[in-house]
Amino acid sequence: MPGNPTTARPPAHRDLLESLAISFKANRDPNQVLAARTAAVDELVARAAVEHVVAAGGRRFTIAACGGYGRRELFPYSDIDLLILVPQESDIGPLNTVFSDLPQALWDAGLRVSHSVRTVADCVHLHEQNVELHISLLDLRYVAGDASLLDELSGKLEEFYHRHAHVLMQRLAELSRTRHAKYNDTVFHLEPNIKETPGGLRDWHLLHWLGLLMPQNEAIRESALALRGAVEFLARLRCYLHFQTNRDSNLLTFDLQDSAARELPDNPLPTGEWMRLYFKGARQISQSALRALEYAETQDTSLAQQFRDWRSRLSTTEFTVSRERIFLRTPAQTAASGEGILDLFAFVSRHGIRLSWDAQRRLRAEAPQIEPRVAINPPKWPHWKKLLDQPHSALALREMEETRTLNALIPEWNAIDSLVVRDFYHRYTVDEHTFVAIGAIDDLAQAKPSPPHRFRELFEETEERALLRFALLLHDIGKGTDPGEHVRGSLNTARTVMARIEVPAGYQETVLFLIEHHLDLSLVMSARDLDDPLAARQLATQMGTLERLRLLALLTYADISAVNPTAMTPWRLEQLWRVYVLGAEQLKRELDTDRIHSRSAGHFILDGNLTPEAQAFLEGLPTRYLRTHGRDEILRQVRLAGQLGRHGVVVEIKRQSDAWQAIVMTADKPGLFAMVCGTLASYGMNILKAEAAANHAGLVVDQFRFADPLRTLELNPSEVDQLRLTIELVVRGELKVEDLLKRRRPAPRPSHGASIQPMVQFNREASDTCTLIDFVGEDRPGLLYDLASALSEAGCNIELVMIDTEAHKAIDVFYVTRNGAKVPEADEVHLKAALVRAAGGH
């Protein structure tokens, strides 16, 4: 039986390791350890060959070192890979027992040996299922026996590798990609395996092997030379880990990080600082390995590859796309301004295509000059929005960090770049966690099959996607400045960054809200009784609006998903969804029940000083109004209400970013909401959002956000006044909507095969005085007019409404009455049928 190497190691080998440990502690020189152990093992193997094989009559055989042993890179507790080479198959049989005795003797000597006995012919026969054999033979080195046999093999191997380089590279690439995927394709693990994790020693080996398989590739050789410092750092660290643990352990645990930071540098460093050195080197190795890997993979001239080059059509005046990579036409010009850089990465974010290695190198070189430049003239929010609105934002932001341009544009980012914060559950550094979280949102945007359906729907309904990603980008940035109080730190940094890039005030509030509350839903999930009505009320109060709740639910989904690959369990997913639904239903109920009392509203908008006009205007409007309108907008609408004029109606239409807004104020009257919807439809406008409510004085405030798909208002400014006047005349009863609609071709109704079948749900419990109707269906121009008309024709009065459309889906909430009371239960069936018919359902 082979002895246990750790307990039955003979004195000679144990002494060697002990003396190497002492000298390593003194000089921290990994090369000396590797060379000394390799030489000692060579000697042991050669002696064992004489004692066991030669003594048994073996003559024509060679013992060669493979893999790391072949490269003379034997770390203190590394395995020993041996090839026993014989001329022919018939030579194996007589010496079979002897060839087994040899490794056994080495095991007894305290070495962990793997060996194989092969003929020369076998070594140059392609084993596609055992490509590891051919890779290990790349580092073949003579140790004992007949040297001429190895010379013969070496000559044939040269030709073998030349002939099969392509297939070997493809298989090696597959193995490497699988290994990377096992570690979630990231260097940035809190406790990395310094051999196997991307950027570890295995990636260095990969570069070495690809260099041997592509001897003509100068770039690989050059990049290998440039990595000498990073590789020596890892080699030193691996020696240290082996000596500390007395085994072949390559896991850099938190405890070992502390001691390594004290003992390995010339002067002890704080652990965090030393870990940044580790990540810096690992990142360099990883990038070089990926570059070589990509080169190996693209040595494919097949038709399929040529077809993949179709993306070159995406090239612009500034970038060229070739072989799935972006090349810069004018790098200096692109890097000259923050806007240029963000536009470049917006392109990455939009198409999911990475920068070429050359583009990365050039940007990295420019990064030190970028920071002072953008400090004077930072790129503003619209450029960030353009990037963060796209479905590959995580990729773009990662590449920005890789090229240091993210750090240049947001210098505060340096605080969390490669930052290790010790946490039992978290797997990644803070920056990587942030990218993984944004990636979880991107997965929802890309409709990948794995994300859960409900949250994808929620994302599709979300308009402020850039804000969501921006909040995620900054949600943990305070971990670098305020450990233990990171929410406060993140808020402070977010305020500074947003002021610098001029994020509009309303958006700033949303981002700050999301950062401040980014842990709240997790807390509700685990610490609140979700069946307790008080929990729902408190949640609704805390969130304020459905929009905020939706964004926070998505942010929480992403944040939990990025803790580690298995953190978002079905259990947590279910709990988070329950919390979201709990809050959403409560907020919807409160639309009607939670009304403004102007005395308390004063605190919101005028520091307690409300004018009588403002008091009268606000009294009785839904509280939501205060939460969705800023102070200035509220005061503007108060003034607007003062312009009702002799006809008792005021209409305002104005541009609102990429859409238009119409506000109609008048005394309530039957069918009012349908009239305005119909007028907008008659002008070809597509209503995106709408809200309508009345205050205690009976003044109705209808607000519409609508798209102008034919750009009528933009190209014909006089049409804005015309539309305003038309709405006014319709509301005054001087024009009929039906006549207006006759002028237009009817909007197409969805076919019966429409992807979203209309759904109508009645809720009699939500309000004391109204019936709540939930409607979800396929959106189309004129839909809201048809629904509102159906309600009017059924004798219903719309008391309050909230309309939202996203991704071709209309999500409408109507609070209606009939004859001043709830709709009789018996009439719900007919009303439901009328609404479904109006929506084109069946």
């Binding site: 009784d529 369990t569 279910e574 709990q575 759904m759 939930d774």
Partner: protein, 112 residues
Amino acid sequence: MKKIEAIIQPHKLDEVKEALKGIGVDGMTVSEVRGHGRQKGHKEVYRGMEYDVDLLPKIKVELVVADSRLDEITAAIAAAARTGKIGDGKIFVFDVAEAIRIRNNETGEAAL
């Protein structure tokens, strides 16, 4: 020795842990589970659509205790986990044949 398996409401975990800590019980295994007993599931309405929520999120707390402490510990769990409503959960008790501490091979109650 007895093994206690308590299925409780998620929001009651902290209270149960505190209660156990208060009587000197620190060791336990906690897992997130889904299921239902008499509470069954329920329907949730979202956007006009009804969802059947048949398996509800719960927490399972497992611990092995000396026979002499069983009543005290189950009482502490029950008191801390109780809200009085359907869905509070259940406590199951099993006989345990043996316990072995892996580190030093201690056995029986000494291993707890």
